[in-house]
């Protein structure tokens, strides 16, 4: 390149505040090969873009440098600008003088000289750039949603409604997720089942949705537009193609296991559907508790099944599915509060966690909706402890977001169903959503006692006769600075919503990132909250962070729209920065073949050189760095472009 234009953005005052634009423009204008250098207030605005296009034409530029914000922000924008003026989009270099310069350096001299050095590096690099051709690939029009909670259900329904085929993969035997366990939802007190079960049924009925329960994704290969996903169908020991859902097997089954759905508060059969409204209405056998699997005798279910659907020999099977886009909606786990021994969970029968309480309220739950404790008695006093494991630097620093609100909901339901005294032990009440503050105000009128302080300990060691037989919650009321001992019958813990225990593993399978708390990481917290760093993999719901149902559903619909931007297209443009082999330089060492994750390089024995299948290349450049002779040329990141850039960066 010999005719380079440098365009320096003020970004309002964001850059101009610390970088002396005029100084930088003057400097850039004198660099070798630079024929025009201009500054402008907002280079990304329409007039800014027009300025660049005008200069490209007027000065017949063959290279453009935009010194502005991060390339991760506007590289695509400016590439379009270049293309619009007839310049190949890969002849553009972005210099990041905002995030890497003006925003992190206070001193004007330092920021200005760094901006110059960065631009100098870009000029060296731009001289060596080559035009590249964009590549296009055909897109598989189908999509996959992983996780069958409310997020996955909503996303699948949305995508199916556009006519797209959707695979909905759920690891448990039913869809519904945590929401199916809830009795009421805050702040409207809608019956959770009443709003969820119709959606679950809609999934089952939708011809565009392939519902895959008891399934797990074990491998994801390929890329946006064409992911090759391997799904494991876990053995159910019931052939669902034959089963007609009469459930007579379940009736007769003598085996018993703890009900996962009822949080272990109740039992279920060994051949079971998780709850009466489960979807699909077809049972599975729990191998761990099945009498036949344990003792080798029984097979009662087999005898009663008229469909001949019981299959004790069934094994896990694997299915390969190709999809264009994937939505991860794998949900959350509730923190295990047993290690927080100060609260006595698991030690005192009167201490419950929030999901257990949900089941106590529910008419299909272990107590058929009656609030009675394990001893069969109705509690006379109840303390709801907020922020257990959340907002706590010993466990999770983050706010779990939903606990304040469900704690209020619990208080309301306790008041409705019992005559108990109800205490809320809170740090701050966080009622930020639509109608939430109003719900809080309503509860303030319902004779619920609010104590501002985090519970320190739950104990059964009594110090006075009126504490006898009670659980004592120790807390400092920080409004009155008084230390309190609250004698109660029932303690409800509000444990943190946390990332699923296997989130790290799942993230690796999908090749997406996790944040420090192991929640899946979004590409940009503000401007790209549903995307991940892997193109074509999107996020919905609590797998990305604690959130309530309205936010989850909104996110799911958004994720479906994101997925549609992929599967709605016939072809996708791919980054042109792949690698190729210069056969005259290749020494045939095959390092490239050995290191590539994507099997893009292969070796031609006849010619004694490597070749690249560019359709498989993702442009990481690993092979180029592994090539001793430099035969592998990483387009847009070639050895000489990189060395040139280094030289420019280090020159001044």
């Amino acid at each position: 390149m010999s005719r380079i234009g440098v365009f320096v953005c003020h970004c309002g005052m964001n850059i101009a505040k610390t970088v002396r634009i005029d100084d930088v423009v003057e400097f850039a204008g004198e660099l070798p090969g630079v024929v025009v250098a201009e500054g402008y207030k907002f280079m990304c605005s329409t007039p800014g873009q027009e300025l660049i296009q005008e200069k490209i034409k007027e000065c017949n530029l063959d290279g453009v440098i935009v010194a502005a914000c991060s390339p991760l922000m506007h590289e695509k924008t400016f590439r379009k600008v270049a293309e619009g003026a007839g310049l190949n989009q890969y002849l553009l270099t972005i210099v990041n003088i905002r995030e890497q310069c003006s925003w992190v350096i206070e001193d004007e001299d330092e920021a200005t000289s760094k901006a110059k050095a960065l631009i100098n590096g870009a000029v060296y690099r731009t001289h060596l750039l080559a035009p590249l051709e964009s590549r296009f690939i055909d897109v598989n029009p189908e999509a996959m949603v992983v996780g069958g909670g409310i997020a996955g259900i909503q996303a699948a329904l949305e995508l199916a409604a556009t006519g797209k085929k959707v695979y909905l993969v759920e690891k448990s035997p039913t869809i519904g997720g945590h929401m199916a366990q809830f009795d009421k939802t805050f702040p409207t007190l809608d019956c959770s089942a009443c709003i969820l079960t119709p959606k679950m049924d809609a999934v089952l009925q939708n011809p565009n949705i392939d519902l895959m329960t008891s399934c797990e994704v074990t491998e994801v290969k390929g890329f946006v537009g064409n992911f090759d996903v391997t799904v494991k169908q876990k053995a159910r020991y019931v052939d669902h193609d034959k089963c007609n859902g009469c459930l007579s097997c379940m009736e007769k089954c003598p085996g018993r296991g703890l009900s996962e759905f009822d949080e272990g508060l109740d039992k279920r059969k060994s051949i079971y559907i998780p709850f009466p409204q489960a979807v699909p209405q077809k049972p599975v056998i729990d191998r761990e508790t099945c009498i036949y699997f344990k003792k080798g005798k029984c097979r009662v279910c087999e005898q009663v099944c008229e469909q001949d659907a019981i299959d004790f020999e069934q094994e896990d099977t694997y299915r390969d599915i190709t999809v264009g886009a994937i939505i991860a909606a794998t949900g959350y786990g509730l923190m295990d509060t047993t290690p927080l021994v100060q609260y006595g969970y698991g030690k005192y029968p009167g201490v419950y966690n929030a999901l257990e309480v949900e089941r106590l309220f529910n008419s299909t739950g272990p107590t058929e909706g009656k609030v009675v404790m394990k001893d069969g008695k109705e509690p006379e006093s109840i303390a709801i402890l907020h922020c257990i494991g959340s907002r706590d630097t010993n466990y999770h620093e983050y706010c779990s977001r939903v606990c304040c609100m469900y704690a209020l909901k619990f208080a309301h339901l306790f008041k409705e169903k019992t005559s108990a005294d109800v205490y809320q032990l809170y740090i701050d009440m966080r009622c930020f959503g639509k109608g939430y503050e109003e719900f809080y105000n309503r509860l303030l009128e319902e004779n619920v006692k609010f104590v501002r302080g985090k519970a320190a300990r739950v104990t059964d060691v009594t110090v006075s006769p009126d504490e006898e037989g009670k659980l004592i919650v120790e807390v400092e009321d920080t409004l009155s600075s008084q230390f309190m001992r609250l004698p109660v019958d029932m303690v409800v813990l509000s444990p943190a919503m946390e990332a699923q225990a296997d989130a790290g593993e799942v993230a690796r399978t999908f090749n997406i990132g996790v944040d420090k708390d192991n929640f899946f990481r979004e590409k940009h917290p503000k401007l790209d909250p549903l995307s991940t760093t892997t193109d074509g993999v999107f996020l919905a719901g609590a797998c990305q962070g604690p959130k309530d149902i309205p936010d989850t559903v909104a996110q799911a619909i958004g994720a479906a729209a994101e997925a549609l931007t992929i599967v709605g297209k016939e072809q996708l443009e791919l980054e042109a920065a792949t690698v190729y082999v210069d056969p005259y330089v290749c020494c045939g060492c095959q390092n490239c073949v050995r290191v590539c994750t994507y099997s893009a390089p292969s070796f031609d024995v006849e010619k004694n050189v490597s070749e690249i299948n560019e359709a498989l290349c993702k442009g990481c450049g690993l092979c180029a760095a592994s090539c001793p002779t430099g035969a592998i040329i990483a387009r847009h990141f070639t050895n000489d472009q990189f060395i040139g850039e280094m030289e420019g960066l280090m020159e001044f």
């Binding site: 995030e99 925003w103 992190v104 001193d107 090749n511 760095a625 592994s626 990189f642 280094m646 280090m650």
Partner: protein, 142 residues
């Protein structure tokens, strides 16, 4: 004049470069001495780049990649880890202060770590003084 180190940074696009952006967006201040070149993956870094960077007059070279397990290309940084480790041993055996070469895993969400690393590294290099051993006395034509 006081010695101002010139440090070359090489950051992978997906984690460290994004993390550096985050440092910017959240206005975490750090020394101006590191000049970052972007690569798609830390595995793109050819050890010869490092030798060359020191010849070009870098007082220090800082390489940033994704945390192990988080590589956008799944395993690139595992290769980088081995290669850059041996690069450091080669530099040291040749007689260059190994402290002048540093590799850090900085995730996209860790703007603060990026700033901390730059601060610490810049101070270390400042204490070491100018790198003169590898620096080419006259320019090589490229």
């Amino acid at each position: 004049m006081e010695f101002e180190p010139k440090i070359l940074g090489i950051a992978c696009n997906w984690c460290t470069y994004t993390g550096a952006d985050l440092a910017g967006t959240t206005r975490v201040q750090y020394p101006h001495n590191v000049r970052v070149a972007r690569v798609m993956c830390s595995s793109r870094v050819n050890p010869a780049f490092i030798f060359r960077a020191f010849q070009l007059g870098s007082d220090g070279v800082l390489i940033g990649g994704c945390e192990p397990g988080d590589c956008h290309y799944s395993t690139g940084n595992y290769y980088a880890r081995r290669r850059l480790a041996i690069t450091k041993k080669i530099l040291e055996f040749a007689g260059l202060e190994p402290e002048r070469f540093r590799v850090e895993w900085i995730s996209a969400s860790d703007g603060i770590k990026f700033a901390e690393v730059v601060k610490e590294f810049t101070e270390e290099i400042r204490a070491l003084g100018p790198q003169t051993k590898f620096k080419v006395k006259k320019d090589i034509e490229t």
